[in-house]
Symmetry: C2
Amino acid sequence: MKKKLSDQLSEKVIINSLLKKLNFNKKGTFNFENDAAYLSATKNYKTIVTTDSITENIDFFFNDPPESVAQKLVCVNLSDLSAMGSVPMAYTLNLSLNSKININWLNRFTNRLLKLQKKYNFYLLGGDISKSLELSLSANFFGKVKSKYIISQNKCSVGDDIWVTGNLGNSYLGYRFFTNSKIKANNKDKEFYKNSYLFPVPCMFGFIASKFISAATDISDGFYGDINKILNNKVGACLIKKDFLISNNLKKIISTNRSKISIEDIFSWGDDYQLVFTANKKFKHKINVLGKKNNIKLTNVGEIIKAGGIYDDSMSLIKNPSSYDHFS
Amino acid sequence: MKKKLSDQLSEKVIINSLLKKLNFNKKGTFNFENDAAYLSATKNYKTIVTTDSITENIDFFFNDPPESVAQKLVCVNLSDLSAMGSVPMAYTLNLSLNSKININWLNRFTNRLLKLQKKYNFYLLGGDISKSLELSLSANFFGKVKSKYIISQNKCSVGDDIWVTGNLGNSYLGYRFFTNSKIKANNKDKEFYKNSYLFPVPCMFGFIASKFISAATDISDGFYGDINKILNNKVGACLIKKDFLISNNLKKIISTNRSKISIEDIFSWGDDYQLVFTANKKFKHKINVLGKKNNIKLTNVGEIIKAGGIYDDSMSLIKNPSSYDHFS
């Protein structure tokens, strides 16, 4: 029961001129001519499934570049695949479009999807287009992982190292530049952090190191909240090196804007899409080697302890670690 | 970055009190505690993927019973799985909820999902909850089918029989009763047809007969339009028995409301979720036996011909067969 979205845009136009390039001629997509599509399974592998939606005025704003919307949609999902130890294969796309969307917007959006598909090697399997008041995009992503290397979110053990990839807070500072013009920094820095917010990059280390990882999640709902998911009310965490997760440049900007930003804010904010994971201490060297080989910054930020809660380096409890609740 | 949906409803409440019953304790769902879930593949089977969204004010109205919304969401997707010859396995659910939704609504909605999951034997794999102005629900459904029995939408041959399951038009008449109070019928009939519109039932014959079917699609965008998808601008259809697709009771109602409803309207309307499929003539008997065994009405409505277009029993071209364009 679907009608034309605007004079220029019928579903046929969207599919034929914009989306078909994204199926990479894979047989299972039936060139988008079927009611459904198929995924082939590989022996000893499991198909990992994750789904995330992003909605206008919540996860992005209409005036954001369409490339940013595409990047966020792909990043939130790839990051979940990585946290399960899997490598991306394919995705389906549900586009709920409103009348503000024109062909130029969709062209820029799909070109960024294409770029990301080539970079991370996955293809569009199928989808659905509908009309709505708000622009809303959801995607189901499919990854694959050897059955024995699937990573759970909370199967860590006391004594495991806690690791974090990359730097935290870059996206948060970018967001603050958009919403508070009084934060001081030079233009080059402002540009860098705004881009970190608009164009998040998933960390695909989960697949690379799945053999050694005991539990993992991506940092999407706030660092403390995401660590809490790993702890699962069963064990605790002692974080001795969390300041190493913030770049020197970001620390400098915080120190010149003390009344406006704090380091603790950063640990309650997500959207960096780095991974936090745990691993048995015996794998420390192997993990460091994999990090170097793949040019991924890794910080061994602390370890899993028996006592529940999250503690800092002086074993003080970091109170009420806040998190957003999340269904995935 | 997701907040409380209303005072009563946090994502945690929705997941723990309403959604967890839907995962049937399947291992791959990780009890909804992971960033993603996994699907196991069976040797020689393919995983079929389909996705459909339904949106308030387009596919349903807020005052429709929540059971109807659940039924429509499941029906549109199961129907696509059936058209590919597959049997349902699992699904993911993206709920974009607005402030009108309360726990009672969600309770009724999820109870209907549970009922349908038990009837058709599939479970909830995971999902995502977000806020939006309009209520919008999308689902990704996963089915399985033996690789050699995957049905394509348009791989029919000249001489193949064209078959249609069940009756057409019941949903259309129900919709007309909702929007035009001047159509005459007795109350019992009104109730029956309104229910056909609110609670569509997918026809799962695709899996049952996949061995014999050459091409299939579900009737969701209009009978003529859906047949056109099978013909794919390569062959044509001669329909000699299409009046057999309309029940005697519906014909009676049409004849007493001649100025308001026509038989041709029915063939341009979808939402009955019956299947139209083609099969080599040599399987006629086997298909009839399977229909009887499963208590599914089957009409051998015509055959595939070389000349492009859709023709009636006197070989007159049915002009401009209309269809909605549709992605996947």
